[in-house]
């Protein structure tokens, strides 16, 4: 449904924009209907930049994002409004997503005035109630309240309900539960997973591997703007291949396994393979930073499991092109 094809983002930095900072380089993946794709990376990996490009909040430098056959970069003028009918985002901090002067349900009336000005009042009311029920909120508990009267989990669910009022195809969820309490975050997470059954595609951006593992079908691991490993979630977690992925997984605090134990499990070298699996498959390919536009970025190691170049020490080179 949504597909990213070698998407890159270059920021101009330094005096007079004399230097280029490559925030995202050649990222390609698809989101299909009813699929949760988790985009995992540490701070500065460019995961939010990818989300913002999907939401058309920033321009794409190279590559293309295609939604149902339409190039997103070419959507201009009044068509943008129609684009947002299908693609919406929810962000990290629920408290700053609302204007504290107005009641929280103003986010619904804004949708109505923009997209459904013709709809009769009662019909709109039913639509809002249905959306609230879908996110397991009681309408009379959350309507007519100011943002400070609601909890973070309620506010976050209101924003998801707001997105549901539209004919949503893609929801970009950028760290939406990292500010929530342990007891409520799992409810919001389950809610996202339930939305899959409505045929929605979800781009779940997070730094928390355990959350990504819990709900997503597909996992994309970003490191400094480059995809290092990608594929079906159970394959990426079950058989982590890239050294960076292995490092991440061994650093996640787990509940029933100590760090030392995970590390010793992952320390064993992958049987029969040594060196960079990407360059084993494409011996002539360049490094991430010197790659030309038609060179491959990922090598297939098994069905639905791809891995990028193992070269981890090209950090400086990949930052400043």
């Amino acid at each position: 449904m949504l597909s990213l094809n070698r998407v890159s983002k270059v920021y101009k930095v330094g005096t007079f924009g004399g230097k280029d900072l490559v925030a995202v380089r050649d990222v390609s993946f698809d989101i299909n209907e009813g699929e949760v794709v988790s985009l995992i990376g540490e701070s500065g990996s460019g995961k939010t930049t990818v989300g913002k490009m999907v939401l058309k909040l920033i321009e794409i430098t190279r590559g293309s994002i295609v939604l149902d056959g339409v190039d997103v970069a070419g959507v201009k003028g009044s068509a943008v409004k129609q684009y947002y009918r299908h693609v919406q985002g929810v962000f990290q901090d629920p408290f700053s997503s609302y204007n504290p002067i107005f009641k929280a349900d103003r986010v619904f009336s804004l949708i109505r005035s923009e997209y459904f000005p013709e709809m009769p009042r009662t019909e709109w009311h039913d639509k809002v109630e249905a959306a609230l029920r879908a996110v397991t909120l009681e309408p009379d508990q959350v309507l007519n309240k100011y943002p400070h009267q609601l909890s973070g989990g309620q506010l976050q669910r209101l924003l998801v309900a707001r997105a549901l009022l539209l004919e949503l195809k893609i929801l970009v969820a950028d760290e939406i539960i990292s500010m929530l309490d342990a007891s409520t975050r799992i409810d919001v997470l389950n809610l996202l997973a339930d939305l899959k059954s409505r045929g929605m595609g979800i781009l779940f951006i997070t730094h928390d591997l355990s959350l990504g593992n819990y709900i997503s079908e597909k996992t994309v691991i970003l490191r400094r703007g480059v995809v290092v490993e990608m594929g079906a979630t159970e394959k990426v977690y079950g058989n982590p291949t890239h050294p960076y992925t292995r490092m991440l997984i061994s650093s996640v605090p787990q509940l029933h396994k100590k760090w030392a134990q995970i590390e010793s499990e992952l320390a064993a070298p992958i049987a029969g393979r040594g060196g960079c699996l990407f360059h084993e498959a494409y011996p002539l390919a360049g490094r991430a930073d010197t790659r030309t536009a038609d060179e491959p970025t990922l090598a297939k190691i098994e069905d639905d499991h791809f891995v990028g170049c193992f070269e981890l020490e090209s950090e400086k080179a990949s930052r400043v092109a």
Partner: protein
């Protein structure tokens, strides 16, 4: 026994009345013990940590006592606490990223700090450099400004500074929350190594992330709405918790290997009660699936087996 807290009560003064953020805490931390303190936001865990260091203007000491290494700490008096702070009890604050003076080079800041405690920089310099090396930083960080360090480096530097005088108790308040997973692990393991090196005798690690505690803590204390809910060795809290709140909290944590498709986790319905007028009896009653008539009375925090204390009528039995 390194730290002994008995029936400590600290309230927040507000226009609407007292917010009972910490309403009677009794527990102890042994020498060499790393105790984790976990709970939802607003359960009073930071209040407990802060009250052992410094009560700010809004906080009111109501009752209870704190004994550290046999000496009672006058936590209600800001000035009398000065000899204890930094020497006996020290803190790595929640926002360690911005805890250092941005206008001073780190070395100069430390020298001013130790001077204020009547020591010369030259006395501690060798030890300081040794510890900087232990946490994996270069000694030349002392000649740099805090802004030149990354978040994880600042975090580790603050940890070195806080423990410089070998305090008996270190309070680490949410120090891993703002860090990336790989840095998080390095910082958490540094905490453990500080204990192993004997820089601090015991530690209280405050966090909402129970899985971090599983990795580093010897025991875990769970708080709910200003009260202690359960304290036990780490393995017991994670493996066979007794308090319904602990059970639901541990059960709601997604971890690597648990998938939505295979095993749907569930959260805890409802939200914690207001601490302005907390409900009578067990404060978890409204959200508790096991609540029964007895729960309108307040459950005592009792030891049900060695080193395992719980505040719940279902566990303690109605005759307790």
């Amino acid at each position: 026994m390194s730290l002994q807290v008995s029936d400590l009560k600290v309230y927040y003064r507000t226009l609407g009345g007292d917010v009972k953020a910490l309403d009677g805490a009794t527990f102890s931390i042994a020498d060499g013990e790393i105790m984790g303190l976990a709970g939802e936001s607003g359960c009073g865990k930071s209040t407990l940590g802060n009250s052992l260091i410094r009560l700010d203007g809004r906080m009111k000491y109501v009752g209870g006592s704190v004994t550290l290494d046999g000496a009672e700490m006058p936590i209600w008096d800001k000035t009398d606490m000065i000899p204890f702070r930094f020497r006996e009890v020290s803190v790595v604050p929640q926002y360690a990223m911005s805890a250092m003076n941005p206008t001073r080079k780190i070395g100069l800041m430390i020298s001013e700090l130790v001077k204020s405690r009547g020591m010369a920089y030259s006395d501690i310099k060798v030890e300081l450099e040794r510890r900087i090396d232990i946490v994996g930083l270069q000694v030349d960080v002392l000649k740099r400004y805090p802004i030149e360090l990354s978040g994880g480096m600042k975090q580790r530097m603050v940890m070195v500074i806080s423990t410089l005088l070998n305090p008996s108790l270190l309070i680490a308040d949410e120090i891993t929350s703002a860090l990336d997973v790989s840095t998080q692990r390095a910082v958490a393991e540094t905490l453990v190594s500080f204990r192993d090196h004997g820089f601090v005798k015991s530690m209280m690690v405050i966090t909402h992330d129970v899985s971090i505690l599983y990795q580093i803590a010897n025991s875990i204390l769970i708080m709910y709405a200003g009260k202690l809910a359960e304290k036990a060795p780490t393995e017991t809290i994670i493996g066979r918790p007794l308090h319904p709140y602990t059970q639901m909290l541990v059960g709601s944590l997604p971890e690597v290997g648990v998938r939505y498709a295979d095993k749907k986790l569930s959260g805890i319905p409802g939200s914690p009660p207001s601490l302005l007028k907390p409900p009578m009896g067990c404060r978890f009653r409204a959200r508790c699936p096991l609540a029964f008539a007895k729960c309108v009375e307040e459950p005592p925090f009792v030891e049900v087996e060695p080193d395992h204390s719980v505040a719940c009528w279902k566990v303690a039995g109605p005759n307790a």
